[in-house]
Symmetry: C2
Subunit: 213 residues, 2 copies
DNA sequence: GTATTTAAACTGACCAGTCAGTGCAAAAGG
DNA sequence: CCTTTTGCACTGACTGGTCAGTTTAAATAC
């Protein structure tokens, strides 16, 4: 009968029990992330249907609900996944480098990340300052993690005397973040033929205050 | 007679015939803009219903369709209205000032604009790099107008020798734009107690390259 | 032989856009 | 004066369609 119903609905994604390296599920989830990120970047969360996502991933609608509890959970998983990649890239760029050099490497890592995942970057800007959304807390947490990698390096630079002691590192990290984000998105949207090196060089020059005539 | 009435449905908004200072309609449209900007900033375009907008504006749903042809047209009107305000503010800031000073005044104008219309700023970042949307062309046009005010001043500064001759003014304008946008949104979201002066000072210092220890 | 995926039908809520009609203020008419 | 007409601005119930999420039975991996 309608009975037992629910039965085994895995639903939860990142709960305690580690998914025992189920390669198949992981592959499906990956495909769903990739499909969802493009569509949601273009159309927004509410403007994108679950069926569209499933279709583009080449998967049945039911599979979405087998792998994720809901549309929202799929999206949260996607955010976690994406910001995780960015944070790792930033950390890797800063590692084993003196702070100021590390900062410039992080700028490059940011540009490269956005070039590699433009849809994610787009979606990220669109959602970051929105409040009252289901995933707002998740996103803010993730964002803080990424930004703190930057401000951490700035703090270290201040500690070593490479940057002014009274520098507002929080605001500076924001400014850096915004600069890279907007420059990268504009670059990709309007002058995609330019190389990363080129864009990076222009940005670094700006940062070093080597602008005046 | 109660009669046939309905007859003329104006629908179109910005057509040739100038609306002869219809104060009532203008007031209604203004209320609708104000209601729509907040809701769409919070929930996105597709996530916001026309009825919600009407309710918040204290108006019936039909009124929306009396004043605008569609939900999309309402939104486009809103974009035009908002970006127009920003562009004017930037132009006013730059007017009658030497370029470098004008630049710093524009940064302040940007901060003040975002502080005055945070929802609009939010909505603007969310939509600017989205492609494939109905209003994409409109928005790109408006954005170019605003950015060109900035790059125009940069060009003038280069011409006068105040900034380096080989400065990439387009990219620099983007960077400036991004910096102000993200810093302002973070400021309002996380440290709203800070004053504009304070934030402005920190930004200008960064721009002048007075960061090193 | 269990875990995962498929395909297809179904439900119930929600929503953009429509339309017949109301209210009101300023002419038009007497 | 008063009353009739005109037309703008607005109203809100209604319609046709859409979509998240469910359910099921059967197929396909591992």
């Amino acid at each position: 009968m309608t009975a037992a119903v629910a039965a085994a609905r895995p639903a939860g994604g990142e709960n305690g029990a580690m998914s025992t390296s189920s390669t198949r599920r992981d592959a499906t989830r990956q495909k769903l992330y990739e499909a969802a990120v493009t569509l949601i970047a273009e159309q927004g969360f509410s403007g994108t249907t679950v069926e569209e996502i499933a279709d583009r991933a080449g998967v049945a609608k039911g599979t979405v609900y087998y792998n994720f509890g809901s549309k929202t959970e799929l999206f949260e998983g996607l955010l976690r996944h994406g910001v995780g990649l960015l944070t790792d890239a930033l950390r890797r760029a800063a590692a084993d480098r003196p702070p100021v050099e590390g900062l410039e490497a992080m700028v490059r890592a940011g540009l490269e990340f956005i070039a590699a995942y433009p849809s994610f970057a787009q979606l990220f800007v669109a959602e970051t300052w929105r409040t009252n959304r289901a995933w707002h807390d998740t996103l803010r947490l993730l964002r803080d993690e990424a930004v703190s990698v930057v401000s951490g390096v700035l703090d270290e630079a201040v500690r070593q005397g490479a940057l002014a002691a009274d520098l507002d590192t929080r605001l500076t990290a924001s400014a850096l973040f915004g600069m890279v984000l907007v420059v990268a998105l504009d670059w990709l949207a309007f002058q995609p033929e330019r190389s990363v090196d080129d864009v990076h060089a222009a940005l670094v020059r700006l940062l070093r205050g080597r602008i005046r005539g």
